[in-house]
């Protein structure tokens, strides 16, 4: 059996552990428990030994003399710095979020009609209900409601304003129900779209589909939609405009 020389630990526990358990570590050290933590009392042991027990062979590099207390202090500083930066980041984020929310609230306020108009509306609607018992064609209003389903609520109010203003008869609908119904309809449409054309389905473009025949002919022909007409529309427009202007200029100079 080889007797191994007892070595001081090279890599003690992390600095934070050291810092937090500074007190119990010292106690343990006093008790003489070698858990890899050198006793704080024996301040002679260097923490950062680069070599191992064979350190005395490399005498050219004298290990740094670091006291435990200084190292501890350093570690504590670092820890504090990290905490400070984290706190700063958090506060910055919070501020950003606050600013953004305020911005949104402002925008929303701008979109909505001023309160005075809204009050007038509700008053008018109540009188309107009493006045006109007749019913407009339900289909018409249904269509109107469905047309404005995609716009925001404020615009829906605007739509109602118009109908009330012209003193037509109408059918009342709860907007909350409309939103629920619309979300369901959107979900249904998304389901069908996904199951027929979504990922996992084996679809191809119409161009490729129709060009299959052309590829198998004895004399191979081009694809059915060979040209991509939607390419470079802006460039083509600019070119057209330039050509027109150039022609006009040419005409002017040739006249002179």
């Amino acid at each position: 059996m080889v007797q191994l020389r007892p070595r001081a630990s090279r890599a003690p526990a992390s600095a934070s552990a050291m810092v937090d358990e500074g007190q119990p570590a010292s106690e343990e050290a006093e008790h003489g428990l070698l858990l890899g933590q050198p006793s704080s009392g024996a301040a002679a042991e260097p923490l950062e030994e680069d070599g191992d027990g064979d350190g005395d062979e490399w005498d050219d590099e004298a290990p740094e003399e670091l006291t435990f207390a200084s190292a501890q202090a350093e570690a504590r500083e670092e820890e504090r710095r990290v905490r400070e930066t984290a706190r700063r980041d958090k506060t910055l984020l919070k501020e950003k979020r606050k600013r953004r929310e305020e911005l949104f609230i402002e925008q929303k306020k701008r979109k909505l009609l001023p309160d005075a108009v809204l009050e007038k509306l509700t008053a008018a609607s109540q009188t309107g209900i009493k006045k006109s018992p007749g019913k407009l064609k339900e289909d018409n209003l249904q269509k109107k409601n469905e047309e404005c389903e995609k716009r925001s609520e404020s615009k829906k109010v605007k739509e109602k304003v118009q109908s009330i203003g012209q003193n037509k008869s109408y059918v009342a609908r709860r907007l909350k129900d409309q939103d629920l119904r619309d979300s369901r309809q959107q979900a249904a449409i998304a389901f069908i779209q996904n199951s027929l054309y979504g990922p996992g389905t084996n679809r191809t473009t119409v161009n490729k589909f129709l060009s299959l025949n052309n590829k198998r002919l004895p004399v191979k022909k081009a694809a059915v939609q060979f040209l991509n007409n939607g390419w470079g529309t802006q460039k083509k427009q600019n070119a057209k405009r330039f050509k027109r202007r150039w022609m006009v200029r040419k005409m002017k100079t040739s006249k002179k």
Binding site: K143, V206, K215, R216
Partner: protein, 655 residues
């Protein structure tokens, strides 16, 4: 005939929407077809597959299911959660009832025709009672976990099969509870990741449930035990529709690759009584998904995303083997969507939600209106339109209000000098309105005769402004005297619907084209058929003329030559010269272009009254602008196909 300059117009961007549902009605031999934009069309299969009625659609009313109930009542249900009943007489929607289950995916009428079953998004199956005036909610069945995508009644009306995602449930109608729940295998091309969607179910009277799903399988289940009997792997893509014949000895399925398969019940050996289902015939008439199929006693009907309606008569079921047993593919509309102003050289294109006005020779005005506005006709225009029955009619000029009775117009026509407007309303009455500078004045109303308005109303006015012809009542074509504001005469009724109507300029002859390719000429001042009309009826039309697939949608006349009638259908246009002899069955109908080096004798022998040219096809509209110019609006099929949604990929060797 003479030479004409032809304006060939190809910029009419007409794209029909794909067919979503098809429902066949056995008693009246009619087919109801609904499209993805919500339009519902009704075809009369016995009147040469003519499109009789047309309900314009709206995206919010996009239908997912269509069915006929007892007494010729048509119901549809869509993703907006409502069940809609259509009024086939007045051509509008009777009422729509919300089912309160979320979007509705499927609907089936009971075999007795008095109950309606609806499958909703939230997994509930709802039963409605069909009353004479409305439908009424009866009760809910047990709620399932996922959306109910297909429904089928047992022929006795006691059980129901409902297909949802990954499972099929069999319900008992009396108790409303689910008896069996059959789980469907998800495997699709070796992968089990995607959910298996049961697109269609069918319940046979011996208790077999046939299901088609998105993994490309057709499966036979036994509903008494809830077990799988047989699987047929039919396609590499979804199988999207199924329809069973009434005798239950054959059914048809449609796949997403465009193939339609016919399954038949055949005996195992030639003289045994045991029968089994065998896949007999594949048909590839579509390029895109076949979303719906129907099975009539003699034909297989299929329709899908590529917008064609294909009717394939089955040879073994057809009694008389004549041209009626040929394949019918209906692609182009049977109504006129384009009108032309001759003096101003303007064309008006009618889309589903807007109108486009173009000037010939250069494209100047493209007025995109919202469909509620009608661009008023300029001087000399005749603009007949068939308007959406729901939209109110407004004139774009300073007209303030329209009277209440003009709420829903089926057909509108301006007079030749644009001072009068003739409106055919959907209640069967005809209104005449005089248009003045800033207002209008209602002149007269011709009430409907006894009986109701049945098919599409067509109007025609004579160029001198005296006569107005209206078709649409089952009693024949009525001719009204506009100056004296009373009914002049009625052309005797014919059992096929009218497809086109026009009055000749000087002779005031009314030319009527019917859906069985018969043409009549009726002289209005004399109140009888003309000599020429009688001769051609006695002799009969050429057999090739009668075998044409598409109806004649427009008739016009030459201003200087009263003996010429110009008419067209989707694949040819023809100038009938009444002075030349009529062809009999032995002569060539489609004459080639007259070569100048042929001898005179041959030319005289082969010259006959019908000068047909197939040069411009497919034609949507053709008219004489003036003496020397024709305008032809074509719509090549490739342009329509280029704008369709993506089809399923097909792997071919060598590509």
């Amino acid at each position: 005939m003479g030479e004409f300059k032809v304006h060939r117009v190809r910029f009419f961007n007409y794209v029909p929407s794909g067919i979503r549902c098809v429902a066949y009605n056995n008693q009246s031999n009619r087919l109801a077809v609904s499209r993805t934009d919500g339009t519902v069309e009704i075809y009369n299969l016995s009147a040469n597959y003519f499109q009789e009625k047309f309900f314009p659609g709206h995206e919010s009313r996009a239908t997912e299911a269509l069915c006929w109930a007892k007494g010729q009542r048509l119901f549809s249900a869509g993703l907006n959660g409502e069940i809609i009943e259509y009024d086939l007489q007045a051509l509008n929607i009777k009422y729509s009832m919300d089912a309160f289950g979320g979007p509705i995916w499927s609907m089936a009428a009971s075999p007795s025709g008095s109950q309606l079953l609806v499958g909703c998004e939230d997994g509930s199956v709802k039963l409605f009672q069909i009353n004479p005036d409305k439908i009424q909610f009866e009760r809910n069945f047990d709620r399932q976990k996922s959306r109910i995508l297909s429904l089928s009644w047992h022929p006795s009306g006691t059980h129901i099969a409902a297909g949802s995602i990954d499972c099929i449930s069999v319900f008992d109608v009396k108790s409303g509870s689910a008896i069996h729940k059959m789980l469907v295998d998800r495997q699709y091309m070796g992968v089990s990741k995607r959910k298996c969607i049961i697109w269609g179910v069918a319940f046979l009277s011996d208790g077999t449930v046939i299901s088609v799903d998105s993994a490309g399988k057709v499966q036979f289940w036994d509903s008494a035990t809830g077990t799988l009997v047989k699987t047929h792997l039919v396609a590499n893509a979804d199988v999207q529709s199924i329809a069973v014949s009434d005798q239950e000895d054959s059914f048809v399925v449609g796949t997403a690759e465009g193939t339609v398969f016919h399954f038949q019940l055949v005996s195992v050996t030639s003289n045994s009584s045991e029968k089994q289902w065998v896949r007999t015939k594949p048909f590839q008439h579509h390029t895109h998904d076949v979303r719906t199929v129907a099975h009539s006693p003699t034909a297989l009907i299929s329709g899908g995303t590529d917008t064609h309606l294909v009717i394939r008569p089955l040879m073994e079921k057809v009694e008389v083997k004549n041209y009626d047993a040929a394949l019918r593919k209906i692609t182009f509309p049977h109504r006129r969507l384009i009108s032309c102003s001759k003096k101003r050289q303007l064309l008006l294109f009618q889309f589903s939600h807007h109108l486009d006005l173009w000037r010939l020779g250069s494209t100047v005005a493209t007025g995109k209106t919202s469909g509620k506005f009608l661009v008023p006709g300029k001087h000399g225009d005749t603009l007949p339109l068939s308007k959406d029955a729901d939209h109110l009619l407004h004139l774009k000029t300073k007209v303030s209000k329209m009277p209440a009775f003009l709420r829903s117009a089926v057909q509108i026509l301006f007079s030749e000098d644009s001072t009068k407007l003739f409106v055919a309303s959907n209640q069967g009455s005809l209104h005449i309105i005089r248009l003045l500078e800033g207002s209008f004045k209602h002149l007269h109303t011709f009430q409907a005769q006894s009986g109701t308005v049945e098919s599409m109303c067509l109007l025609a006015v004579s160029p001198d402004g005296n006569w107005l012809a209206a078709s649409g009542t089952s009693a024949g074509v009525h001719v009204y005297n506009v100056k004296r504001l009373k009914l002049h005469c009625t052309v005797p009724a014919y059992n096929f619907p009218v497809t086109a109507l026009a009055i000749a300029p000087k002779t005031n002859n009314l030319v009527i084209a019917h859906s069985d390719q018969q043409i009549f000429e009726y002289s209005i001042p004399d109140k009888q058929y003309t000599e020429w009309s009688r001769t051609i009826q006695k002799q009969g039309f050429h057999y090739l003329w009668l075998q044409r697939d598409t109806p004649i949608t427009h008739i016009s006349f030459h201003p200087k030559r009263p003996m010429h009638i110009l008419l067209h259908d989707a694949y040819m246009f023809c100038i009938i010269d009444k002075s030349l002899p009529l062809p009999n069955d032995k002569t060539l109908l489609y004459n080639p272009l007259p070569p100048t080096n042929e001898s005179d004798v041959i030319r005289r022998r082969t010259a006959h009254a019908f000068k047909i040219s197939k040069r411009y096809k497919p034609l949507l509209f053709m008219d004489l602008l003036d003496e020397r110019t024709l305008v032809a609006v074509e719509r090549p099929l490739d342009d329509i196909i280029a704008q369709l949604p993506p089809p399923i990929k097909k792997k071919k060797f060598g590509t």
